[in-house]
Symmetry: C2
Subunit: 329 residues, 2 copies
Amino acid sequence: MANNSNKVSVIAGGAGFIGVNLAKSLKDSGRNIVIGDNLSLGSLDNIQKYISPEFEDFYEVDLSTAIGVKHLFESCIVRFGRIDEVWHLAANSDIPAGVNNPNVDHKDTFLTTFELLQGCNEYGIKKFNFASSSAVYGDWGIHPLSENLGPLKPISNYGAMKLASEAQICAAKESFLESVCIYRFPNVVGAPATHGVILDFIRKLIQNPNQLEVLGNGSQKKSYLHVSELVDAMIYVSDLPVSSSTAEIVNIGCDDEGILVRDIAEIVVNLLSPEAKIIFGEGDKGWVGDVPKFTYDVSRLKSLGWVPKNNSHQAVNLAAQEVISNFGD
Amino acid sequence: MANNSNKVSVIAGGAGFIGVNLAKSLKDSGRNIVIGDNLSLGSLDNIQKYISPEFEDFYEVDLSTAIGVKHLFESCIVRFGRIDEVWHLAANSDIPAGVNNPNVDHKDTFLTTFELLQGCNEYGIKKFNFASSSAVYGDWGIHPLSENLGPLKPISNYGAMKLASEAQICAAKESFLESVCIYRFPNVVGAPATHGVILDFIRKLIQNPNQLEVLGNGSQKKSYLHVSELVDAMIYVSDLPVSSSTAEIVNIGCDDEGILVRDIAEIVVNLLSPEAKIIFGEGDKGWVGDVPKFTYDVSRLKSLGWVPKNNSHQAVNLAAQEVISNFGD
């Protein structure tokens, strides 16, 4: 593993679900970390619980503004003398919210990238890590999603603004950045998730332990990765000695064909309320912008030397247990 | 050809180089047209010269704002009762300007798309035609650029914001648009161009008829299409009876391997100042964000039934004559 004992890392969106898990792992890798978050989806509770109760290097900032980025970057420089890298996870991760109001994804997903990149240019920061998404691909049915697919036709504003962010980062790499890692996430599960099918099912079952209503007919099939594996893969790729061009855009995910929504429903019901009846809706989409099925090609990631340990079923099972045990905290 | 005698078309960026050529052809096809442009690169002179001296349905508006789009759309509805389609060509087309200041491409290329789409949603407009660019591909060397290439890594903010616009349009297609045509342009030549290598060479030769200094070593090789062929292809694709998914994103270009910058220099020198000496610079890029070589795969366009008539050499030659004859107007 690379020696990161002196590295200074800024984590944008570091109080959110994936952010706190990543921040903890970056800290454990020996990095000095500073977190900025607008706390719209993230929280101080997350930071205290998942990083450390004494963690002080957090700033509540709106990173979709130049002044917010400036405040975060200058605070980091005052504290640690410099910034070696940015990890950008700030985004609206609530897909239906962005379909209803495109301004949400524009501000929280697109403009955060725009302003963070401008900040990197201004402060001479050369390395940029970005949390992109499988949503950039759009709906390819059962065709495995690999990085060399085209054309990309995202079907949600969330996916559109993630792709738009990737595009800006690539242009910045040509101009002033030296190293770029763009990670395309699948569905990520674990704690402290703020949305998603597992949390949805748990909430419904707590409200009514006798039955679970599922949006759509349950035939949606997707690949799920546990957040612990995700952040492990991200740091692994970022720490590769030379960031080759194949490492610039890389899918991170399980090496399987995914799990059916109806199987997720059964996992949650078995853990929480084994007698509950599962009731399915109609159609194969949960909402506008939902991609009903996809399988994820992670051969590029494996060729870089990282292999997932859990399959989608194991990841969902582990995550469901964690979310249930956290519930009501 | 489709019957367009009653169609009402709004052309965003319709006072610019490609805009006025497209507007004229759309008018000739029987459409009622209304033009909006901020006149930063376009001009009223263009409209009067290339469309008609009496043309009245022009509005000077900033289409990167909701109020600008609202003014344009409501003016069109007052005049013609409705809007059937939008043709979106508004953009900053000056690549080096956008590399120097990302706000330019963000405002004039990205936000115009964002606001026009919001306007389409609000006013119930179902068809959207978009002028995208070969710049979305990034630098693939001599690998032919086809629509199914990935990953897309644009190397200029111009290319990034065009790709970002494509992404938004695809998401809007899933949500509220019914039909989408995204045309990826190569280098387009003709009159009244406001920038580009031909105009550059002509300006330099007029200033100093004895020599022509070329940025880079002249080995940049690119495909060029004459604007008359471009707008012909755009309208052809848009008028296809059913907008199939293969017509949603389509390269428009010549069916050749392109022309060397040094050959363009010779064409211009021969037309304007045959005794001038051509002096080459170093390196194979003209500027940051320049893609030194590309060849364009137009097999999808041909499979849709449209075939280019001129090759890149013929297109450049014709355009150089037109630009020279317009010079000093």
